[in-house]
Every structure is written in C-alpha cells, then in structure tokens.
Amino acid sequence: MKKIFAVALGVLTAIGGFVDIGDLVTNAVVGARFGMSLVWVVVVGVVGICLFAQMSGRVAAVSGRATFEIIRERLGPRVGGANLVASFLVTVLTLTAEIGGIALALELASSVERRLWIPFAGLAVWLVLWRVKFSVLENVAGLLGLTLVVFAVALFQLGPDWGELVDQAVHPRVVEGEGVPTYWYYAIALFGAAMTPYEVFFFSSGAREEKWTAKDIKQSRVNVVVGFPLGGLLSIAIAGCAAVVFLPRAIDVTSLSQITLPVAMAGGKLLLALVILGIVAATFGAALETALSTGYTLAQYFGWSWGKFHRPAQATRFHTAMLVAVLVGTLVLLTNVDPIAVTEYSVVFSAIALPLTYLPILVVANDREYMGEHVNGRTTNALGLVYLVIIVAASLAAIPLMIATGAGG
C-alpha cells in the first residue's frame, strides 16, 4: 500500500511539476497562432525529456554523481565552464520568468498591481528554500500544480470541433499569414519549453537529495515515463484552448489573462479560480526548482557542499548562490520587464544551451566505471543518438531563426 502511494505521489508530482511558465506561455502563444499544427513538437519534446531525465536520474542513483559534476568531469574546466555560464544564465532567466508568473497570477487573483506582488513572491520563494524540507517542497508544489488539469476540462467544455483539431495536429502545415521560419522558431521554443536544462539539474540533484540508490531506478522510471507524458497532455490542452478561442479570431496571446481567458469562458469563476491557483502553484514550484538549480550547477562545478539535506550553515556557498539568484531575478522584474517576454526568450535559450548538458550524460550513462550493470541498453542508446542529432540541430538553428524572424515577430 505504501509503495502504491509512493508511486502515485511520484507520478502526480511529475505531472504537476512538468508544466511551468515556459510551457504555459509557449503553448498558449503557439495555439493562438498556429492552432494544433505544432503538437508534434510537444510529443518530440516529451519523449526527449523522458529519455534525458531518466538517464540523468539513473546516473545519479547508481553513481551518486549529479549532472553538473558529470559535465565538469567529462568536458573539463573550459568547455564545462562555458556550459556553466550558459546554463546558469538560462536558469536565472527562467527563475525570473517564474517569479514574474507568480506575480502575474496573483495580480489576476487580486487586481493588485503585479509590481507590488514581485518582492512578496521573491521573498516567499526564498523563505521556502531556506526553511522547508526538500520532499515537502517537491510534493506540495507538484500536487497543487495538478489543478492545471482544468485546462483539459475547459477544452472539453468549450466543445470544439475535435475533427478539426485532430486534423491540424496530424497534418501539420503553416497557417496562412505566418512565415515558415516563424513556424520553425516556435517549434524550437516549444522544444525548449519541454526540455529545459534546469529540469534535468533538478531531477538528478533531487535523486541525491532523496538519497536514491540503484533500487529506486524502477520507480523513478515510472514517475518519468507516466508523469511527463501526462504533463505533456496538459501542455497540449493549453494549446488546444488557445487554438479554439484565439486562432479563429486572429488574436495573439501576449498576457497571462489571455492564457486563462478560455478557461473563464468555459467554466466561469470557479474554473478561473482553480486555474489561477494552478498557475501560482506551478510557477511557484518551478521557481523553487530553478532557484535550487542555480545553486546545484555552481556547487557541482566548483565542488562545494550542496543540498537541502544539509543545514544552510553546512552548505553556505550553495545557499548564498540561491539567495543571490532569487534577489537578481526579483530586481530584474522590478525594472518593469514583461515576464511573458522573458519567458519567450528563456525557452529558446534553453534549447540553445542543451547539447553540452546532454552529451556528457549520454556518455557517462554508458560508462561502466560509473554505472556498473546499469549502463544504457541498445534501445536507449539508439534513441539517445537520434535525440543528440535533434538537440544539436535545434541548438544550431535557434539563433539564425531568432534573427531572421525578429524573435518570432
């Protein structure tokens, strides 16, 4: 019974933890502009993150080494350091977007200006990092994030033409009025939203936080392989809502209130309240994960003591790094940047930074010194190489497409 509970909890938190501000914004924007024609990218991204998270979790469980220790060890100080700078900046950017998301959602709920909520959101994130145990933090955020299921409920209530939606999804083509480069630019953004590096830093370091061993591999695989695809379905529902409401009216999504509008149209105040709760929980959870990831990456590269299983005084550089990251994110938001715009950049930069994180994990997952009998099987390796090609291609194409399309124009 206890075991079933643990599995259910793991799966549920994986679903709730999958969707963050990046998935919310990108899916809604893409749904409004391209309908369901980019759903295939979500599928590719979800399979990719399953593969990547599963490998990094297995490496962490068997060898006890978290992802950035592996990156430093395999790529050396120079290339590993370049990756650290890139990953750290992307993670701080994502953290900024998540804190902004919390403030935007609270603004929706309260009609109090978001700039007043920002310091409060930043402080709340830091307090939880400072005082709350890892397992509590992970589970509560994941479970509350599950209320985003209302996007799926809303999609049904909107009573869309299902045949039309499915047709858009299985016969993807570029919508009239949109350029082909723009279509591919958003394809990369969606891919980056599904495969953010911080998820892998968090997942593999979390394995250490919870002291996983080889015995826990099976459960972690179930969490990932069941939880993430269900999270992916949630992403698709968000895109679907936007596609039903905004695409026919040719309205672009540029604010959080627009993202929640289809839910309000479908289910009135109750669903709207739930969806706002879900967004606060999902962005809060992701803010914790990204803030922890800034500490994890720095500490693992430099060999500092890290982890929530220590008292702050036993991991002082780790806690200082997180404190500074949350502070920087909060201050950046107070300059009045648009959190939605920050989000749109953060997902693309995620895709750009990914290859140097992915390659070392793929190599070490095959290294018997680290993995013993738990090295990758043939299927995982075949899939791993296919994704290596996809990840490198997306990373190389991102900047030219960003310039060509004026960041999605």
């Binding site: 395999r74 790529l75 050396g76 793929l362 190599v363 095959n366 290294d367 018997r368 090295v375 990758n376 043939r378 390796n381 075949a382 791993g384 190489l385 290596l388």
Partner: protein
C-alpha cells in the same frame, strides 16, 4: 610542477620533429607510501595528434557504446600513444611558465595507450 603545465604541451622527438600533444598523464600508485595510499608516480605521457575532446577517454578504454559516438571519438584520436617518463628529457625548468615543450630521448619507445584491465 603543475599537472596542467604538462597537459596540452607539444611533444617533439630529439630531432625536433613534432609528434603531437600531451592529452593525459599516466600515474601509477607505486611511489613511496604517503598516508593511506602510495604516492602516484609519474609513469608516462599520452600523446595524441590532437588536443581537446580526448577527455571522453574512449581511446583508452573498451567502452563501446553508443557505438557511433565511440567510433567517431576513437577515430579522432587514432595515433595516440604512451611514452614512459624515463624516455622524456628533463624539462627545461627555466622555461616554465608557460607550458614547456616536451622533448623525448632519441631512443624513446611508443606503447599502446590502452589502460590495463583490472
């Protein structure tokens, strides 16, 4: 001497012909006992025609997967060899820093770079 003084240093034979670059330094734990373990003795240098990317170590281990990656990296580091430290002329101490050029004795021998299997 720092280990990083040796890494990536160009290697020449006694006639000044370029042989490649130091990509790694082989140590053997058979020096005088120092604490719990024996001190690592500098045993030899691994010399490759290329610097960089050798860190994945495929050319020295029998790791074979993922096959395409292993084959490609091994191919890049074809021609890697081991020379024993006894075959290296004493480094010119006035030369450091920056990294010295490593010069080998005229009768040096090249060995397979593979790590012994434990």
């Amino acid at each position: 001497m720092l280990l990083s003084d040796l890494l990536d240093a160009p290697v020449h034979d006694a006639d000044g012909r370029a042989l490649g670059f130091v990509v790694d330094v082989r140590l053997v734990l058979d020096g005088p006992l120092d604490g719990v373990l024996a001190a690592p003795r500098l045993h030899g240098l691994l010399v490759s025609p290329r610097t960089g990317s050798s860190f994945l170590g495929y050319e020295r281990t029998d790791e074979n997967s993922p096959a395409l990656l292993a084959r490609w990296l091994r191919h890049r580091h074809r021609g890697t060899f081991l020379v024993l430290w006894d075959d290296v002329l004493p480094p010119d101490e006035t030369h450091t820093p920056p990294a010295p050029t490593i010069t080998l004795r005229h009768d040096y021998r090249r060995w397979s770079p593979a790590l012994p299997q434990h």
